[in-house]
Each structure stands twice: as C-alpha cells, then as structure tokens.
C-alpha cells in the first residue's frame, strides 16, 4: 500500500478505549464486578474468593488460567493466605494488606497497585491480583508467572557442526537469561518496553554498556518508541517498522535464534532486540557481509573458515546470476562458449520450442512452486512432492523436449546454491533479484547483467543500517576491520573489535596471542629418550 497518490492520507487515529474507573475502589463486590465486565466474563479469568484471618475478611485472588504456575499459586500463595491469622484483632484493612505483602506471601515481586490499567497489565502477563474488601489498594504478585511454554531445543534455521546446540524459545525472560549465561558481566544491560496497543508485547533491548555505541542505543530506542501499532506478533513486525530503507530488497536487520550468535555480536558492540513470543532475536546494526557468516566460522580454524566464506560469496553470485548468465551466453554471446560445449547445448536446444529466457522462467517458476509446496506440506507428504517434482522437472520435461538438459543443470545448481546461502533473509532477496537479472539478460545480454550488477552495487553501497554503511568494512574500506569479511582472520590476529560498532572500546585481546611451540624444542625428545628402547 504505497501512498503514492496524494490526498488519500489515512485517518489513523487511535480510538480512545472505553472509559475505565481509574482506580480500584474499596468495595470488593464492585471491583470484582468491574473485572468481570471488563473481561466479558471470560472463563479463563479465575476469581477465587476467600476469607482471610480470624476476622474473616473477604478477599479475592484473581489470575488468568494458563498464564500462572498453578502449583506455585496453590502451594504458596493461596495456602499462605488461608493460614494467615492476624495477631492483632484491630488491624485495619490497609495494615492487613501491608502485612500480607511483608509477612505472609513467601514470593518475590509483590507490589501494591491502585490503578486498574496497571493491574490489568500485570494480570495479563501472569501476575496474580489480591484484592481485599475495604481497601482501595490491591497486591500484584508477579512471580506467579508460569504456565506452559516450549522448552529450549536445537535451532532449526542455523544448524552448526560445532558449537552450542541451544536456541531461543518464545519466552522473553528465558531468552534473556540464555544470553546472561554466556556473557557474565554487569555491563550487560537490558531495557524493556511494551509495544502494541492490543498485544502489549514485551520488547527488550540488550547491549554491552562498555562496548556499545551509545548513539546506536539511543537511535534504537527512538525508533522503537516511534512504533504505534495494535500488535507485534513476531520480531518481523519490529524489523519492518524500524529498518532504514524499506524499499530495498536486502535485509538491514539480522535475526537469529542462536544465543551464541547474539553474544558474539553483543561483544562486537551491536544491540539485540528481544521480542516476546518469538525465538528470533533481532540484531542492529548489520553489514552485508554478516549475512555470509555462520557461527561455525568462528569455531573452526581460520583457514577452513576463510575457504568456506569465499565459497559462500561465490555461491551468492551463482544464485544471483546463474540462469541470467546462461541466458545471456546462449542468446547473445555464443562466441564465449567453447565450440564443443556450444554444440552440445545447441544439440539439446534443437527441439526446444521456447527461447532460452522462457525456458529458464518455466524451470525457475516450477522450482519455486515446488519449493513453496515443500515448505507448507507436512513432512510425511513432503517427500512425495520432491519425488513428483524431481520427475517433472528433471525427467519428463526434458524427455518431452520442453526444456533442455543444460537448463535443468543450471536451474538445479542455482537452486542448490540458494539453499547454501547461510542467511535465509538474503537468500530470498536474491531469489527475487534473480528474476530481474534474467529479464535484463534476456533483453540486453551480459551488458544488462553488468548494468544490473552496477546498480546493485550502488544500491548496496548507499544503504545504511543504523548509521553504519551496509557494505562496510568493504564499502568504505576499513583495513583493520576487514579481517572478518571475505576471509576470517585467525583469532590471535583479531586484536580489535570493529570500530564501526564500538568506537569507544576497540581492544579485544592482549598483545601477542599467536601460539608457538616452546622455544627449546625438547619436550618431545626427552620423553622419547626415557621411553621404552627395547622396541626393536
């Protein structure tokens, strides 16, 4: 929905929510009635009425079923309330409330509240309300939060061969604690806010206070506060609402479900944005090359890591211009293909009724359809799709003479290449751009591809992510930081953090960390001398 045509400005005003008695009253009856009315008698809002103490004061415990830990609630809260016996008979109701809070409830997070809005807010995140007849205050017990949630499991999107096997869950506090367990320093700061007028989603930002660029933190907070929306269902909402250039096909915010990735990036001075309800945590600011990095890169030895990094960049180009290059070479630049290869391609194409570009589009579309189908189907049927798809794409289409075998090879290689891109976010943008490149190749040949690549480079160099140039440290070339780009420098050489993200605290490790054998190389020989000499 682009507001391209002027004069159609949406009247986007927040409707005021229906009036609410601002604060709690002293009549329990009225209070409970209001709660019931407000929630429309929803059955999952549990109101447990009870009488406290020897004076049998009427009270109510209110909580939302499923959001609270039932065992905790019953064993500690309700039980201790029921066993409460006030020492002095003449304590006022307000004193009683204080006593409950100070002496009776054996739990953390007990707070006095009067505002209904605050009360409802805490009720809906799993706190328990305690209202006593005759007071205009209520207690909220935040630590009853609980209920069912998914346990920590292995990541599904970013698998590694070596490295931690845990991934984030849907629970915000679990997620934050997972990072806390990795970085154990008081400098790891978390700030929290609620976004979404209806969903009231908890959003937290996390950073290392002594490393981060505080301007970026300020900017992140500013952009998050700007969001006025009814709901945040996933971190994708936030991502799309705070990115720098919404018209770009490239992701400007990194997302991951791995705590070690978040920890590693926090240590480089980035800011993580946690959103309740999703295992995907956002990271800002990002640079383009980050989408080619995997956690393994840092765990494996640097030579292997660098080689795979180079391979991934090569893969990026294959998946971007693979079919386009084939179209350009076979329809405009036949002189570029070695004679015998050209003869093979020509022989296969002899009976194909379409021009190369149509052939490529058919195959690419067929593949995209298969991929989409494979994603949505349950696993049991998924294999059927791949068999049918393999037959249709590979075998039948060629035998029917609708497409040529070389085109199948090109499309297959491209497809595999796009799966080999470590970041799905970049892989899908490349998928989109591939079609644009195929169009350019069909109209202008390699000239078109080159023009497209130039435009792409210009676009990438123009992008910014929270003030950091997208192509850095290659775009504005920063030699010191380019140790983690197309190659991954060994850890003993990575003396500095990237100054782009942490301008204040660049030192990462002490002087000479390069390992070396002990200077008098005698350890080995001594042991062999002493060893068993009778072997022969």
């Amino acid at each position: 929905m682009s507001p391209f045509f002027k004069g159609k400005k949406n009247a986007d005003q927040n409707k005021p929510v229906d009036p609410m008695p601002g604060a709690i009253t002293s009549s329990l009856q009225d209070n409970l009635a209001w709660v019931k009315q407000k929630f429309g008698n929803s059955p999952d809002i549990i109101i447990r009425e009870l009488k406290i103490g020897s004076s049998k004061v009427k009270a109510a415990v209110i909580y939302v079923q499923g959001l609270v830990d039932n065992q905790l609630l019953n064993d500690f809260l309700i039980e201790s309330l029921m066993q409460y016996d006030s020492s002095s008979q003449d304590e006022t109701r307000t004193q009683m409330l204080d006593n409950l809070s100070d002496l009776v409830i054996p739990m953390g997070g007990v707070k006095e509240e009067t505002e209904w809005s605050k009360l409802f807010e805490s009720l809906l995140v799993g706190a328990t309300l305690i209202i006593i007849d005759g007071t205009d205050k209520a207690l909220t017990v935040a630590s009853t939060q609980g209920g069912e949630s998914r346990s920590i499991s292995e990541p599904t999107t970013q698998n590694v061969i070596r490295g931690s096997r845990e991934s984030f869950t849907e629970n915000l506090s679990t997620n934050i604690s997972m990072v806390r367990r990795i970085i154990r320093t008081p400098d790891l700061w978390v700030e929290s806010m609620k976004i979404g007028t209806q969903t009231n989603t908890n959003v937290s930002i996390m950073y290392l206070n002594n490393v981060v660029d505080h301007d970026v933190v300020k900017e992140v907070k500013k952009r998050l506060k700007r969001i006025k929306i009814d709901s945040i269902l996933e971190s994708g909402y936030i991502e799309q609402l705070i990115e720098d250039q919404p018209a770009s096909p490239f992701p400007q915010i990194y997302h991951t479900e791995r705590p070690d990735v978040i920890a590693g990036n926090l240590l480089e001075g980035r800011v993580a944005i946690f959103v309740n309800g999703t295992p995907f945590v956002l990271l800002v600011p990002v640079v383009f090359i980050q989408f080619f990095q995997t956690p393994d890169d840092y765990y494996f030895r640097f030579d292997i890591a660098s080689a795979t990094r180079l391979l991934r960049i090569f893969i990026f180009f294959i998946s971007l211009i693979g079919p386009a290059a084939y179209i350009a070479a076979t329809t405009y630049h036949q002189e570029m293909i070695p004679t015998h290869l050209l003869l093979i391609i020509a022989a296969q194409r002899e009976s194909v009724p379409f021009p190369a570009v149509i052939e490529a589009l058919i195959m690419e579309l067929a593949f995209e359809v298969l991929r989409e189908a494979g994603l949505r189907l349950p696993k049991a049927i998924g294999s059927t799709v791949s068999i049918v798809g393999g037959l249709v794409i590979g075998q039948a289409a060629v035998q029917a003479g609708i497409v040529s075998p070389p085109m199948v090879i090109v499309v297959a290689i491209t497809a595999i290449a796009s799966f080999a891109t470590p970041s799905f976010a970049v892989a899908i943008s490349v998928r989109l751009l591939r079609f644009a490149f195929m169009g350019l190749a069909a109209a202008f040949g390699f000239f078109g591809i080159i023009v497209g690549l130039i435009m792409l480079t210009v676009h990438l160099c123009g992008l910014r992510s929270f003030g950091v140039p997208y192509m850095a440290p290659l775009g504005p070339y920063r030699p010191v930081e380019s140790g983690d780009t197309v190659i991954r420098a060994p850890w003993w050489a990575a003396k500095k953090r990237p100054g782009l993200f942490s301008p204040n605290n660049v030192k990462r490790e002490a002087g000479s960390q390069m390992p070396a054998p002990p200077q008098p190389r005698t350890i080995k020989s001594e042991s062999t001398e002493k060893g068993n000499q009778n072997e022969s």
Binding site: F4, T330, T331, Y332, Q334, E335, T339, H340, L342, L343, I344, I345, A346, A347, Q348, R349, E350, S351, V352, P355, A356, V398, Q399, G401, P405, G439, L440, A442, A443, F444, G445, G448
Partner: protein
C-alpha cells in the same frame, strides 16, 4: 514529488527493457554455426565458397541425437559471388538459418586462387567482420579444390575442420615441418615489407567424392585421408612455390617455432644411422651491416636425446657423443642453408630477415627497404652457427645391437 519522479524513472527504465525487443538476440536454434570455409576460384574468376556447417545433434549425441551415427556431423553448402559478402548474401538463399562465424576455426584457400588472385583480397572480409576470429587457422588446398578438404569426412575427430586444425597443431609440435599460422599472423606478414607469409598446405589422398559420404567412415582404413602436405610460400601476396620436408622444418627453425623434432644423421656410412630427438631449442637471428652489406647471423642452440640408433655405436664414449653432437649440428646447418638457397631463388623472405634487420639497424633499413625483397634478400650473406648438445641417451647406453654384433 520526489516519489513521483522515482516512479517515472523506474517506469522509463523498465520500458527500455521491454521495448528494446531483444534486437541482437540469436537463439541457438536460429543460427547455423560455420565450422570452416573453403574458397575456390570459378572459371569466371568468381569466388566459390563452401561453408561447412555443424550439425550439432550429430556431433553431441545425447538424448535428442538418437540417429547421430547415421547422418553426417557437418553439412556443406556452396555459393558463389564476386566478394565474400556477396557469397554470404547468396548463402542465405540456400540455408534456412543465419550463418554464424564465431566458431569458425579454419579457412581453406585453394592453390589456384592463391596463385592467380593472391590471398590478400580473400581475407579482408574475415579480418573486418566482428564475428570472425583472427585466430582462425588458414591452410592452402594443395593439388585439390578447397571444397574437397571441406567435404571430406574424417574419423576420430567427427568435425573435419577440427581434424585439420588439430593435425596442424600436432604436426607442428611433433615434426615442425608444417606451420600453424592464423589469420592475424598472415595479415601481419602480408603488410610487413620485411617478411612474407608461409602457409601450410593440405591435401586429400584418395577420392574426394567417396570421402564426402558417411559410408566411407565405415571402413577402418579410410578410402581417403586429409593430410598436411608442405607449405606454400608467398610473394607479394601470391603463391610462389612450395617448400617441403626438412627444408620446411629449417624455415620453422629460423622462425624459432620448432618445439620438438627428430634429426637423423649418417653414422659409419649408414644413412640415418642415428636419430636425435630434440628436447628444446632456441634460435636467435640478428642483423648487422658488414662491409657496407647487410649481414644476418642465425644461431641455433639445441638440446636433445638419442632417440634411436640402428647401427652399433659406443655411446659410453664421450668422444663419440661429441661427434654425434657435431654431426647433428651440421645436419641442421645443411638443412637451413638448403632452404635459404631455395627461398632466395624465389625471392620470398619468409624468414622475416627484413624485420630483424629493421629492428637491429633501423637507420640502414630505411635506405634499403624498397629493394630488400628483390635485390638484397636473394644475395644475402647468412651466417649459420649451430650448437647442439646430447643430454641423455634414453633408457640405454649402448644398444643391444652392439652385443648382437659381438656374438
């Protein structure tokens, strides 16, 4: 406003994609790839060009080429015209597709055409055209029509033009008796006042009519073969004579193009008693003025092994080896002098001595440039020195032949 402008720009940019209509697009099944071109001269003095077109399906085989074995890998169409462009135009009357020259790797010019009209005018269109490669090999059809070379089918290499090209490459490498020269080198030699081109000759042994049929390939011993056969020497762009065998090799030697070859020498009265296998050589040609006359020095440095002895020789004796080295050197020197003598008679400086002289004595060259070919080259003093070494004698010292004799 800015948004509107961006939109309009995007619209125009995308229009350029859709309206340009892919004007230079060529689908693979709309072009006919030319493998080779053979050019003959008709009675009327016109060009008669035979185009050898690839039949991709019959070469590549694979799924679609089921009947690959039955039909020939190439098809030949012939058209005539006063110019090459006219031939190109007339060709369109005979074939359904546009001829595509980027993969043409051979041009055959008939002996008759090269003699009567010269090779210069024929090659101009190829040099100018953007599709044509200047690295295309050029050969002269010796004693047969160029068309015969184009139509004769070959075994091993399915495509005849490729067979000719590869034969040329491998024989230059193995024997050095034929020169593998491409279009660009020929044109450079044609325009240079101090050099004349030498172009390899090819011929068809057997009946070319038979050779044009697919059935002829059914035999193991083909009824006709395409063979490299001597080199044509040009003078002023016209074919002036042929040079063969050891003489031709001597030319390549001076041009420093010899990569490996076998030199045989007499031993104890037995002709070709010892074969010397050349491993590497370097030839330097230099020019100077001596006593007011141009003087060329050719210095050959060669190293090699003993390849074969057919007489008993004591190869353990260093003195014997030294003698063989000397004999081989003299054999090469004799070859060079013989070929020099022959070309001086024709007055065609295929060695490029003029160019060497131009480089070494630029001031003197200016004075004699005009009369180089006809007056100076035929009477040129050429000083040939050959340095030859035997590095190894192969796997054996003395041959078993020595022991057979002792028995």
């Amino acid at each position: 406003m800015n948004r509107k402008r961006t939109f309009l720009f995007g619209l125009l940019a995308s229009l350029s994609v859709f309206t340009s209509g892919c004007w230079s697009e060529r689908q693979l099944n709309e072009i006919a790839m030319v493998a080779a071109i053979g050019i003959d001269r008709t009675e009327a003095g016109q060009y008669e060009a035979s185009y050898q077109f690839f039949n991709p399906a019959n070469i590549a085989g694979g799924l679609q080429g089921g009947g690959g074995g039955q039909s020939p890998p190439v098809s030949v169409y012939t058209a005539t015209g006063d110019t090459i462009m006219e031939v190109h135009g007339n060709m369109s009357r005979k074939i359904s597709r546009e001829p595509y020259y980027s993969h043409t790797n051979l041009v055959v010019v008939s002996e008759e055409l090269a003699q009567k009209d010269g090779i210069g005018p024929v090659l101009e269109a190829f040099d100018r055209g953007s599709q044509f490669r200047v690295t295309t090999a050029v050969v002269i059809a010796r004693e047969v029509k160029a068309k015969d070379l184009i139509t004769t089918l070959t075994a091993l290499d399915k495509v005849p033009s490729q067979k000719i090209m590869q034969t040329l490459e491998s024989t230059e490498k193995a024997m050095g008796e034929n020169i593998n020269i491409d279009l660009e080198e020929i044109i450079t030699a044609l325009v240079s006042p101090g050099r004349e081109p030498m172009i390899s000759g090819f011929t068809v042994k057997g009946d070319p009519k038979e050779g044009a049929k697919q059935e002829s390939l059914q035999a193991t011993d083909l009824p006709m073969t395409v063979e490299a056969n001597g080199n044509a020497i040009f003078k002023n762009g016209k074919l002036a004579g042929w040079i063969d065998g050891a003489d031709a090799r001597a030319v390549l030697w001076i041009l420093d193009r010899i990569q490996s070859t076998t030199v045989t020498t007499e031993w104890e009265g037995r002709k070709d008693g010892i074969s010397y296998r050349l491993a590497r050589q370097k030839t330097n040609v230099s020019a100077e003025m001596k006593n007011g006359k141009p003087h060329i020095s050719v210095h050959v440095h060669m190293e090699g092994d003993i390849g074969e002895v057919i007489v008993p020789v004591n190869l353990k004796d260093p003195k014997t080896l030294e003698k063989i080295e000397r004999d081989v050197g003299e054999e090469v020197k004799r070859n060079i002098e013989s070929s020099l003598h022959y070309t001086q008679k024709i007055k065609a400086d295929i060695f490029g001595f003029g160019e060497v002289f131009h480089r070494d004595e630029p001031a003197e060259w200016k004075k004699i440039e005009k009369k180089w070919e006809d007056e100076i080259f035929p009477n040129l003093d050429v000083d040939v020195t050959v340095e030859s070494y035997i590095r190894r004698t192969g796997l054996r010292n003395n041959s078993y032949l020595s022991e057979m004799k002792n028995k």
